[in-house]
């Protein structure tokens, strides 16, 4: 059991991904691009392996034609409790947030050694190979709450920390606790089948806490001891990863 899950801390933000419900539609990816000012790099760059999306949906085929089934596995930063990306950064650009218990990337601090990206077993980190380009009039729809990153630095899924902060501040101002489901990262909000659920694992009555106790629950590469905050629910007869 992770030390982060049982302490006196207020929130342990977590996400549940129900593989049974994922249709592979890609709405989460699109929502993430829009919310987090992710540049669209085009076909050629994506072919080189330089897509900038913070979520990817891995598609695996099961069986032989004509009895084929597609399996979809959405993977984003797993917000590890013991994150391999953190100790290797020479300048503390990636570190563990003591209040949100997620992995934070400080864009301004990053010098771009890319060690964190190599050391991430989930390959979820993204590097800015070039300065981002938002052709007219796309720059008008940039999210003012999120930094537009420059070339040469790392970035990754933040669990939409700007949204977490916004809700935290609103709740604090109103003098009330945060309700379950009040914080919704863009991908969770956009998911049409509710395959993605977000919430506080420290609150035993939250939806994520209940789902996390499912018999179907597992974590990616759990044997590495990274203590991810993303919990997957196995799909039916599937044996993915």
């Amino acid at each position: 059991m992770s030390t982060y899950n049982q302490g006196t801390d207020e929130h342990r933000w977590a996400m549940v991904v129900d593989i049974d419900k994922c249709t592979g539609c890609g709405a989460c990816i699109t929502a993430c691009y829009a919310e987090n000012n992710i540049p669209v790099v085009g076909e050629e760059e994506i072919h080189k392996g330089r897509h900038m999306g913070w979520v990817r949906i891995e598609r695996y085929w099961e069986g032989e034609y004509p009895n084929v089934r597609a399996r979809f596995l959405p993977i984003m930063c797993q917000q590890c409790g013991q994150a391999p990306c953190e100790p290797v950064c020479p300048v503390f650009a990636t570190y563990h947030s003591a209040t949100e218990h997620i992995n934070v990337q400080v864009y301004n601090r990053c010098v771009g050694t890319r060690f964190c990206a190599n050391n991430c077993p989930y390959i979820t980190r993204v590097f800015n190979w070039f300065d981002p380009v938002f052709p007219e009039p796309l720059q008008e729809q940039l999210n003012p709450d999120v930094t537009v990153r420059s070339r040469g630095i790392m970035e990754k899924c933040t669990f939409c920390i700007q949204r977490i902060r916004r809700v935290e501040e609103d709740a604090k101002a109103a003098g009330r606790p945060i309700e379950d489901g009040e914080v919704q990262p863009a991908c969770v909000q956009a998911c049409p089948t509710e395959a993605l659920v977000f919430g506080d694992l420290n609150d035993p009555n939250s939806k994520v806490a209940r789902l996390a106790e499912s018999r179907r629950a597992f974590k990616l590469l759990e044997d590495l001891g990274t203590e991810p905050a993303v919990i997957y629910l196995k799909g039916g007869d599937a044996h993915v990863v």
């Binding site: 392996g49 891995e58 100790p87 300048v91 050694t113 190979w129 790392m154």
Partner: protein, 481 residues
């Protein structure tokens, strides 16, 4: 030594053989040797100028234009991608750190065990270390996303009271390299002082005399100065060996401390040290053959030196093969899924298999085939071929460890493919040219043979008559009880 007049003709023949076999027995007048070395240093021919300008052009093309282009536009101009975040820049970095191990480590080990034949080769080897480290030290900067913020890795006092992360192997790496560079610069400089003073004493031009007077720290050659020099060198000899070994161990930790299948290996530390010495000795052999040919140092660098270097190379071939096999076998036997993916990619008939087999051929088969025989070791072009082959093999090894290993991971969906871009190739050529250029320039600034050390050795070596034959002898100095 028996005088020529009374010596039996057979003994004269023996004496000739002994002298031909060992530089230290083949004594010549000191002034003659001094002038020979200095003449080689002062001769600036048209060919030399053309070579220097050509190399300078390549350095400008690679390290000014290509690197500048990359800084301006971003690392996208290199071939790296996701998941191959590290490419030839890191392979080059490890390669040059490896080359740097020849010099100082070889020279320090040979000094510490009192291998007398080392005397004429130490300078050339130590200079190699310093230049290779300079080239290697550039690569982390070239590799960085935001080169202009490199100083954030240094523990300097700043208003935000931020320290660098001492848990990061990159941090250890930077400190190890700076320590090694400082140490090997001093190690190169100390035995250079008497030779710089020699150049000063033979210089007539005012500016030149002044410059070498400063460089030689006003060396006069008094008893006390020699004593201090020998003590300082003895200390540095023993300091630099653990420093050198630790540097390449720490370089290996950039990989071994990680989570990457194919990198997190416990044998990487010693394996990298052995590989570094291996490629370094190979490069040293090539450099010595070049120096001997182009500087006309046939008197100083002889068959005996190539033979001995060749033997070290052959020993290192076996060491490297053993370490490589040990690492490969245990990982293969472990049958980890992610490593199976990697093996399918880089061995058997996988797309990266040609690199793998080429590495084994150039690193094991060719060196053993050449270095096995004395003729192979002592023929300049053959030992050079072995040295070049080893360096191609060791470069392939680093290339396999960095971009090839990163191409495969635990998620087949996220596998990648890496091809170096023209920018990366130009920068690599530029850095190789920089290394050669620095060497070419140094050959006209300081004597590439440590003359005083050779002369010191010659004083201590004598040919003695024992019974009916002549034998070489060494005068050893022991401190009185």
């Amino acid at each position: 030594m028996s005088s020529e007049a009374t010596m039996h003709p057979d003994l004269a023949h023996v004496e000739q053989e002994l002298k031909a076999a060992d530089l230290l027995l083949d004594r010549r007048p000191r002034e003659e040797m001094n002038y020979e070395v200095m003449r080689a240093m002062e001769r600036i021919s048209l060919t030399w100028l053309i070579v220097a300008f050509f190399l300078g052009g390549l350095v400008f093309l690679g390290l000014v234009l290509a690197w500048g282009y990359q800084i301006k536009w971003g690392l996208g101009v290199a071939g790296i991608n996701r998941p191959v975040f590290w490419g030839v820049y890191i392979a080059n970095f490890v390669f040059w750190i490896g080359i740097s191990h020849a010099g100082t480590l070889i020279s320090a080990i040979l000094r510490s065990v009192g291998a007398e034949w080392r005397r004429p080769i130490t300078r050339a080897a130590e200079a190699m270390t310093v230049f290779a480290l300079m080239v290697a030290g550039m690569y982390p900067l070239i590799h960085m996303g935001r080169t202009w913020r490199f100083y954030w890795m240094l523990p300097y006092p700043n208003q935000r009271l931020l320290w660098p992360n001492f848990r990061s192997p990159l941090m250890w790496d930077m400190m190890a390299i700076l320590t090694y560079l400082t140490g090997s610069l001093i190690f190169l400089y100390l035995p250079l002082i008497p030779d710089l003073a020699m150049v000063r004493d033979h210089s007539s031009a005012k500016l030149r005399k002044k410059l070498f007077n400063i460089l030689s720290l006003g060396w006069r050659g008094t008893e006390a100065e020699w004593k201090h020099l020998h003590v300082a060198m003895a200390i540095f000899t023993f300091i630099i060996i653990p420093v050198a070994a630790s540097v390449h161990t720490i370089v290996s930790w950039d990989f071994a401390m990680s989570n990457v299948p194919g990198w997190k290996s416990t044998i990487f530390g010693p394996y990298f040290v052995v590989g570094a010495i291996y490629s370094g000795v190979g490069a040293l052999a090539v450099v010595l053959v070049m120096v001997r040919k182009f500087m006309g140092f046939e008197y100083y660098l002889r068959e005996q030196h190539l033979d001995n270097i060749g033997k070290i190379m052959l020993t290192m071939t076996f060491f490297w093969t053993y370490f490589w096999f040990n690492g490969y076998l245990t990982e293969w036997y472990g049958a980890e899924t992610a490593l199976d993916f990697l093996r399918e990619f880089m061995t058997y008939t996988g797309p990266a298999a040609p690199l793998f087999y080429a590495m084994l051929i150039t690193n094991i088969i060719i060196p053993i085939a050449i270095l096995w025989s004395r003729a192979g070791r002592t023929t300049p072009w053959m030992i050079s071929l072995a040295g070049i082959s080893i360096n191609i093999g060791m470069y392939l090894e680093r290339y396999i460890i960095v971009p090839v290993t990163l191409s495969r991971n635990r998620f087949p969906f996220s596998w990648g493919h890496y091809v170096p871009s023209p920018v990366e190739i130009l920068i690599s050529i530029g850095s190789l040219s920089m290394f050669i250029l620095l060497y070419v320039l140094l050959s006209r600034i300081v004597p590439l043979i440590s003359v005083w050390e050779v002369q010191e050795g010659q004083v201590m070596h004598v040919i003695r008559r024992v019974g009916r034959t002549l034998v070489p002898g060494v005068i050893q100095w022991h401190k009185a009880e």
